[in-house]
């Protein structure tokens, strides 16, 4: 077996798998079996990553939040508290799985399980390396969007099945919010897809490789819109109105306890990693890092990028208060949607110029980058001016009074 002959192969785990498939082909297996086996291998790889990520993320998130909040975070179980997620899981599994009397039993039990499906499926279309992609869908970006829209239904399922008023409030909030945020997110990705000319994530990464530049340099506005929009879709602070601990306690999963709650908790982290991975491949070149992947395996770089973006989400969570529901909707419809529309039109114009006049990429791409950055800056500052409270009636600071001063009421003339 030459499988482990040289480490070089492990820069791209697709290579050893290809070797394995070749070996199986030599052994005379039919194409269908090889297809199934390679699919299984990829699935195992992705599932193990998701499993490990869900566990590690609990630790990372709690440690980082602890760091932000001038405390230590979990540090007792295992070295640096690394085994804390395991302890959490053991505790959650031991707990009684409570179910409210009038809950819809099947839906109640099914929801935390089903919600994992879109979360895990999202990883299948991501290119982890040049040949490390489980399903290179031609419509990969659309596939991811479709997955995110199904999550809505499952969250609603959980909230409705709980037969709890807070849960209903939470799930109605989720539905209203996700419908609003789908539009700007889709339009932001439309800019990326138009620019790259393909909906396949592999195609988008190879576009970035071909033109030797990450897409964030051409699509800064789309990146921001997607980042903010997906924060809302992920139900994370400052847009965690579906869970809204301080208002509707835990929203749609208020009645869940034990490992069912644990699954919701884990799926949130997995979803966050999935979104970070999508951002990493769409805007930061995925595994491609300006030639660095020659020396460090591309998938390690990819994971590094995922966690850098994940850090932004944790940072958001640690620092920002929550929007109110209507403010969040207004933000989607009044700010993100127009920005995304303008961005998509700008990209269409640029692509038109590029293809129609057949200008070489070397000239036109830097110009696009500068133009798009300028546009993003102008739009963000402009919208900030328009949307922010320029009409502050009163100063923020209270006035300081030397002595008590209470006026008498105006004498009534009656």
């Amino acid at each position: 077996m030459s499988l482990l002959a040289n480490w070089y192969d492990f820069r791209d785990l697709g290579n050893p798998v290809a070797r394995l498939i070749e070996a199986l082909q030599d052994a005379g297996l039919s194409g269908g079996w090889i297809y199934a086996i390679s699919g299984l291998l990829g699935a195992i790889g992705i599932l193990s990553f998701v499993g490990v990520a869900a566990v590690i993320n609990i630790w990372i998130e709690r440690r980082l939040i602890g760091r932000i909040q001038v405390r230590r975070g979990p540090n007792r179980v295992g070295p640096f508290g690394l085994l804390q997620p395991v302890a959490d899981a053991i505790k959650l599994i031991q707990k009684e799985a409570l179910q409210p009397d009038n809950a819809d039993g099947i839906m109640f039990t099914l929801a935390p399980i089903v919600i994992f499906i879109p979360a895990i499926l999202a990883f299948s279309v991501l290119p982890w390396g040049e040949h490390m992609v489980l399903a290179d869908l031609n419509v990969g970006v659309l596939f991811l969007l479709a997955l995110s829209s199904t999550t809505t239904i499952i969250i609603f399922m959980a909230g409705y099945a709980s037969n709890n008023k807070y849960a209903i409030l939470g799930s109605m909030r989720v539905i209203a919010m996700l419908i609003s945020y789908e539009l700007p997110v889709v339009l932001a990705l439309l800019g990326v897809v138009l620019f790259a000319g393909t909906m396949s994530l592999t195609g988008i990464v190879s576009f970035q490789e071909t033109y030797w530049s990450w897409l964030i340099f051409f699509q800064p506005l789309a990146f921001l819109i997607f980042l903010l929009g997906s924060t809302a879709e992920l139900n994370r602070t400052p847009a965690d109105i579906a869970e809204a601990e301080s208002e509707i306690v835990a929203g749609f999963h208020i009645e869940y306890s034990g490992m069912k709650f644990g699954l919701f908790y884990a799926v949130e982290l997995v979803n966050t990693v999935a979104v970070s991975a999508i951002i990493a491949s769409l805007f930061f070149g995925g595994w491609w890092t300006y030639g660095l992947e020659e020396f460090i395996p591309g998938w390690i770089l990819f994971i590094g990028k995922i966690y850098s973006i994940y850090f932004i989400f944790i940072w958001f969570r640690g620092t920002l208060p929550r929007f109110r529901v209507d403010q969040l909707m207004a933000f989607a419809w009044k700010v993100l949607l127009p920005l995304a529309l303008i961005n998509a039109m700008m990209v269409a114009l640029e692509i038109f110029i590029w293809t129609e006049y057949e200008i070489s990429a070397g000239i036109v791409l830097p110009i696009f980058a500068v133009v798009n950055f300028a546009l993003a800056g102008v739009l963000i500052v402009g919208f900030g001016r328009v949307m922010s409270r320029t009409m502050e009636r009163f100063p923020k600071l209270p006035r300081l009074v030397k002595d008590i001063d209470v006026p008498l009421p105006e004498p009534s003339t009656a």
């Binding site: 869908l137 419509v139 829209s149």
Partner: protein, 163 residues
């Protein structure tokens, strides 16, 4: 073997789609009915994939399972009925007759049509072709559809606005 896989997938998806559709009619709880409807939509999306129509499949999930069903959930939640039950009403008998007729018609058509077997397509960039088709030969229906949607949107806003 290749064909076998597709055949198995087809039958499994067909069973899922039809089973879910049947359950959608049979269950009494409206919420469950909607969830079965979604399952049925997902099954149809799977069938599209066996036909190598990946764009349509994903669009099916995105639009039908993701958006249309949400509208239905809203409709059910806004229905002023204390118990969300699919209760019987006086239209039961006409509906039964009508659906029987539809089943008969569909069965008749399915059995009597001379089906042409298409060659297996490949997972090419169907999205691009659809896009080009929409914007060159079918541009008029496409634009009319968007005008219709705008009109519907304005109508919805007018209805919802108080006073």
């Amino acid at each position: 073997m290749d064909d076998l896989g597709v055949v198995i997938a087809f039958w499994a998806l067909a069973a899922m789609t039809i089973g879910a559709a049947a359950m959608l009619i049979l269950v009494r709880n409206l919420m469950h009915a909607i969830l079965f409807l979604i399952l049925s939509f997902v099954g149809v999306a799977g069938l599209y994939i066996t036909l190598s129509a990946d764009f349509v499949a994903v669009a099916q999930v995105l639009i039908y399972a993701g958006a249309i069903s949400v509208l239905m959930i809203f409709a059910v939640m806004l229905t002023p009925l204390s118990e969300r039950d699919n209760s019987g009403n006086f239209l039961q008998l006409p509906a039964l007759v009508l659906s029987g007729l539809v089943i008969a018609g569909v069965t008749f058509v399915a059995l009597e049509t001379e089906w042409r077997e298409a060659g297996r397509g490949s997972f090419d960039t169907t999205a691009a072709e659809i896009g080009e088709a929409l914007l060159s030969p079918f541009v008029l229906p496409f634009e009319i559809a968007s005008v219709l949607l705008v009109a519907a949107m304005i109508g919805a806003i007018v209805i919802v606005r108080d006073d």
